[in-house]
Symmetry: none
Subunit: 196 residues, 4 copies
């Protein structure tokens, strides 16, 4: 070991970056602050990631990939589609709440001011997440469980509705629990708002 453990500074930095970026957003995050939290010198940040933008990209990419991996892992089930769909929603909600940092980044800071190159990279990651959801819906559609509807837009809608509800209960912790959120979301998504 030694060559196997490629400097844990790398990971320290990414962890600190995820925390700071999610707390403050890209533009308000300060490299100094990240360095302090990572317990490395500022130069070390730049030795490992050549710019703030690239550090941001790495943070988002690695974090997002981990989340998608986790969702996939948990969804390996033989449940009937409705239960499977419920599991999808609840899993995404749970992971969103756990990694609200990253979620926040991805859903709230795709605006301008970041290197185009990096923006494209992040958009690519986000797109892969949407595609993953669309793929799942497609599978349900083939089984006859999902109505005839635009899958890409539906996936986008699914991501958006989960984002807004989770964001809301994170910011207003008193107004609702995770369970309630999952039920409301499943309710809406499975049978719509109408139908009292």
């Amino acid at each position: 070991m030694g060559s196997a453990k490629t400097s844990n500074k790398h990971k320290q930095i990414l962890d600190a970056a995820a925390t700071i970026f999610s707390q403050k957003g890209f533009h308000q995050a300060r490299m100094d602050e990240i360095a302090v939290m990572a317990e490395v010198a500022k130069g070390t940040l730049y030795y490992n990631f050549s710019s703030k933008s690239l550090l941001f990209a790495a943070t988002v990419t690695e974090g997002m990939e981990e989340i998608v991996r986790k969702v996939r892992a948990e969804l390996v089930s033989d449940l009937p589609f409705p239960e499977h769909f419920h599991l999808l929603v609840s899993t995404i909600v749970r992971l969103y709440m756990q990694h609200s940092d990253l979620a926040h980044i991805i859903f709230n800071e795709l605006s301008s001011g970041i290197d185009d190159e990096v923006l494209v990279e992040i958009e690519r990651v986000r797109s892969r997440f949407i595609d993953f959801i669309a793929e799942m819906l497609s599978w349900g559609q083939q089984k006859g469980y999902i109505k005839n509807i635009d899958l890409k837009l539906s996936a986008v809608a699914l991501a958006g509705i989960i984002d807004s509800v989770c964001s809301h209960i994170l910011q207003n912790p008193d107004e609702g629990s995770e369970e309630k959120a999952v039920e409301t979301l499943y309710d809406i998504l499975s049978s719509g708002l109408l139908g009292g």
Copy 2:
């Protein structure tokens, strides 16, 4: 005169601010740029609004109030609830697309870095919009059209799902038209995804 026609510079500035803030977001927007677009000197910005944060707050507040006013105006109808609900969705979508600037601001830049005082003000405006939707849903619920569901969370979900879909088609103009967006959204919201 005086309070009625508070110098038209005031309006010029707000218009320019809306454009710039929406294009770049709060942190990336530059006071210089706003001044140039408003065709006033930079000092005039500060003569009319004492800080960047306050200018932002004014921009969002005034813009938002105008939108809510418009939605309210268009929804004065005696249609049966389902049609009324469809009208709600299509109206919000249309106004979102028209004022994507503001929508973008409100949905994407509520993160940190802004004076708490201002943040609270904006949150208050946003909240009023959510409440307006919830109120509409409540009315539908009383009429027996909306199922027994948490109205606040549902309103949040409604705003979120519209935001994500509209954002998506704005960024990918080729992947869908406004009409398709409205139909997909109404489809999901009225009867859910399930039920193929």
Copy 3:
């Protein structure tokens, strides 16, 4: 007055810049130092000149133009060519010694590290100086005083020989006076080294 005197800060900065740039060269000069010497805030530097490179370019350009103007002014004479040529040499030497700052900059810091755009601008100024000398030599050639020789190369040679000798006596003040330099240079340039 007021609008006529376009802020003397501009000139203060250029003067300070000329001094610092000539003492330390482009890369070693610090904007802070220039600001302090110009008795303005650092921001004022950037308000007047948008970058270090551009400040450098302005310094060199304005200084150089002043020198060329002076040389031209002093050379308006009806002397016979040999005396005229002697005057040319002595004038250039005198101005070089007076503005050794700028001379140093122009002859010693045309190396890399500066924005290409700026480098080109400076090269253009330098070129104009060379052309001015060549023009003078051409005039002498037409009068039959200058031998049949490449005028551009001769102008370059003239500038180079003056530069090296002036540089030398500036760095070794004990080894020669300005008068001696002028005589040696005139001696070499008028009748060559050979011919003892």
Copy 4:
């Protein structure tokens, strides 16, 4: 062995340093870049040369000594002085063009920003080169070929005129060949500009 073959890394570094320093000048040269070109680790640079300044000094010193050695070697001739002088000029020009790297360094980067100690060392080397030329002129003067003129200043002038002309044709390859440069220089130096 050991002192004779001080690790060939030593030479690799000096070669790379000569290239980089001459391309970019002292201040713009980066130790990283030199290390990469020398194909050694950055630490190895510091193992062999304790600082950037010292590496620069070593580069200049060793290179310069090699050049002076070569000039001396080629000038061992029994030619009559005029031909000998012509040979001196053409040899210096040829070596200048061959080692334009070093020439550039020596003539263009004697400004500030380098350790005084190192600056003095380099000035010493430069001085030795001037003295070598002066010595040659002195020899010609004794033979009655060189007029009664300040030899040190003349040597400085000779170096300067060669530098400027060579620099010029290096930067404007189309405006003149090496041969033309030699002839122009010899023309000026042997019989002056005047005398059409």
